[in-house]
């Protein structure tokens, strides 16, 4: 009876596999193929080998886009990991932990586009710069999003404001669900304050720290919405990241080959990071 049902069981999985195959897997193969051509979207493909990939490291604009991406990633490694950890430790010690938890998480309920719109008005002309100018910091009274290189820093700040709550929540979960015996034992032996954290609590929190670091890394590489809204990559392409450059090359300049090459590079980097993440997620699978 079980055998007669065999083929029917695959009907359950067929729609999901079909959708993922058509939309995701075929797309990846096609993008990889296009990245070795100079396709403009119309007409024939001409193979150009690796020249799209080489161009990324030779053209000044692409190089700046790479550097900006690395700045986002470096900042994404430090700020969204260290700050949420400090927030989480403070919140677990505070008297109003639920309230604070919700306040710091709240910006996550708003999309990247909306954060972009709010921050654009808050950070340019009549917003925060004007306020600081009136408080006596006249050299700060400028449209921060129009100043090359400064704008990248400002946008990172805005994305930290939005995203910190998610990581904080993960750390709180890690701290609350921590085994209490080693901590009690360490306290008995006189450990307290910073020593307790560096020697006992942080090592116990390591699995959560790894997940948060990898997620932050991946998100930094993919940041698109807020940059697209706040500066559009400008002025003069100075705040572009690879995700923004990819979009512009493809849909503004019709360099589909170039856009594909950038997408493939992003994928390879993210795939590489994800391998660590997946290994952590699926090590339990082996025991099944």
């Amino acid at each position: 009876m079980k055998r007669a049902n065999g083929w029917r069981n695959y009907l359950y999985i067929a729609p999901a596999v079909l959708f993922v195959f058509c939309f995701c897997i075929l797309s990846i193969i096609f993008t990889l193929f296009i990245s070795f051509t100079d396709w403009t979207g119309l007409g024939r493909f001409k193979f150009v080998g690796f020249s799209n990939y080489v161009a990324v490291f030779q053209d000044k604009n692409f190089l700046l886009s790479c550097i900006n991406t690395l700045v986002w990633v470096a900042a994404g490694l430090i700020i969204p990991v260290v700050f949420p950890l400090l927030f989480a430790i403070a919140i677990t010690k505070s008297s109003f932990s639920t309230l604070f938890k919700n306040i710091f998480y709240f910006p996550n309920a708003v999309s990247g586009v909306i954060v972009g719109l709010i921050m654009t008005s808050l950070l340019s002309m009549y917003g925060l710069p004007q306020l600081l100018g009136m408080l006596g910091f006249e050299n700060l009274d400028k449209n921060w999003l129009n100043i090359p290189y400064v704008n990248t820093g400002v946008m990172i700040g805005a994305s930290v404001w939005q995203g910190i709550g998610m990581n904080m929540l993960l750390f709180i979960i890690g701290l609350v669900n921590m085994p209490t015996e080693p901590i009690e034992a360490a306290k008995m032996e006189g450990a307290s304050g910073i020593g307790l954290y560096t020697k006992i609590i942080l090592p116990l929190l390591k699995p959560t720290i790894i997940v948060v670091v990898l997620m932050s890394l991946v998100n930094s590489f993919k940041t698109f919405d807020s940059i697209w809204i706040m500066t559009g990559g400008g002025p003069y392409r100075t705040s572009e990241t690879l995700a923004v450059t990819m979009y512009k090359e493809t849909f503004s300049n019709n360099h589909l080959g170039m856009g594909s090459a950038i997408a493939v590079m992003l994928s390879v980097i993210i795939l590489f990071i994800s391998i660590f993440y997946l290994r952590k997620t699926f090590t339990r699978e082996g025991s099944h």
Partner: protein
């Protein structure tokens, strides 16, 4: 005695620091609420922290509706979130059921094939789907948008639902089998009701994602009839922001659904994250 007093002082230092940070954290929202009701003239001549003297919501709304079709974007996004989200989660639930309960051959391999969809950045799907949609006539259609959103949410939904099924005892299923229930009957009448909580969590999470999406919305549509709400709002232009109060008003309006979902689900948020990070 000294010890407890010291601990009390430390606790209040922590509380005060957190209160200051919390004020900074909600400041942008206060800014939005105070300034969304001002007239544009009042905004650009006054100080932005002044309380509004005029109440110009209707003018701001009028300006907004001249600039973009917020209403149709709103309806489209609800449609995409509900139908795309619903369709994707049904397919994901079926797949998770087949892998975990029907124990199909090479279940883990099938799982990884589906899960691979979460690993790549969305940029890698953009060009092929844009081109394919143009070829088959799905570009700038509602059906096209529902299909792509359904496809994109399948991998993560399968991951969460399979995790849930792994933790469920199979005894009830076995006794239903012995009673002669078919697999599909068990799926509908036993598993789906049992999985209501994770299904709801996944749906809220994915609805929020679809609602917030900009990339596919602005790439795969060009007309108001299919354009989702974030793509519509993005046309107001952040980088070249002209009239701030109407744009802030728009920001409030299009955030209402995700904020409602947040309020509805924040108690379950932590439970949901425990599942995804374990």
């Amino acid at each position: 005695m000294m010890q407890t007093k010291h601990a009390g002082v430390g606790k209040w230092t922590v509380n005060i620091i957190l209160i200051i940070l919390a004020v900074i954290w909600i400041f942008p929202f206060l800014y939005v609420i105070v300034n969304a009701v001002k007239s544009s003239a009042e905004y650009s001549t006054g100080n932005f922290w002044d309380l509004p003297k005029s109440f110009s919501i209707s003018e701001n709304w009028q300006y907004l509706t001249q600039q973009v079709q917020l209403g149709s974007g709103f309806i489209n996004s609800i449609l995409y979130g509900a139908l795309g989200g619903g369709l994707g989660i049904i397919m994901a639930a079926l797949a998770a059921y087949a892998i975990e309960t029907l124990k199909i051959k090479h279940g883990l391999l099938w799982f990884f094939i589906i899960y691979s969809g979460t690993i790549f950045p969305f940029q890698v799907y953009l060009i092929p789907i844009f081109k394919a949609y143009n070829k088959v006539g799905l570009y700038d259609t509602r059906v096209g948008m529902i299909l792509i959103y359904a496809a994109l949410i399948i991998p993560f939904s399968v991951f969460v639902l399979r995790n849930f099924l792994m933790g469920v005892s199979k005894e009830m299923l076995e006794s239903a089998r012995i009673d002669g229930a078919s697999d599909f009957y068990i799926f509908r009448k036993i598993y789906m009701p049992m999985a209501r909580a994770p299904l709801a969590a996944v749906f809220l999470f994915q609805f929020t994602w679809i609602w917030s999406d900009l990339l596919f919305g602005m790439t795969l549509t060009k007309s108001e009839s299919a354009r989702p709400v974030m793509a519509a709002v993005s046309l107001l232009g952040g980088a070249t922001i002209q009239k701030v109060p109407p744009i802030l008003l728009a920001a409030i309006i299009v955030s209402i659904p995700t904020i409602i979902l947040f309020v509805l689900s924040h108690r379950n948020l932590e439970k949901g994250f425990i599942v995804t990070t374990k």
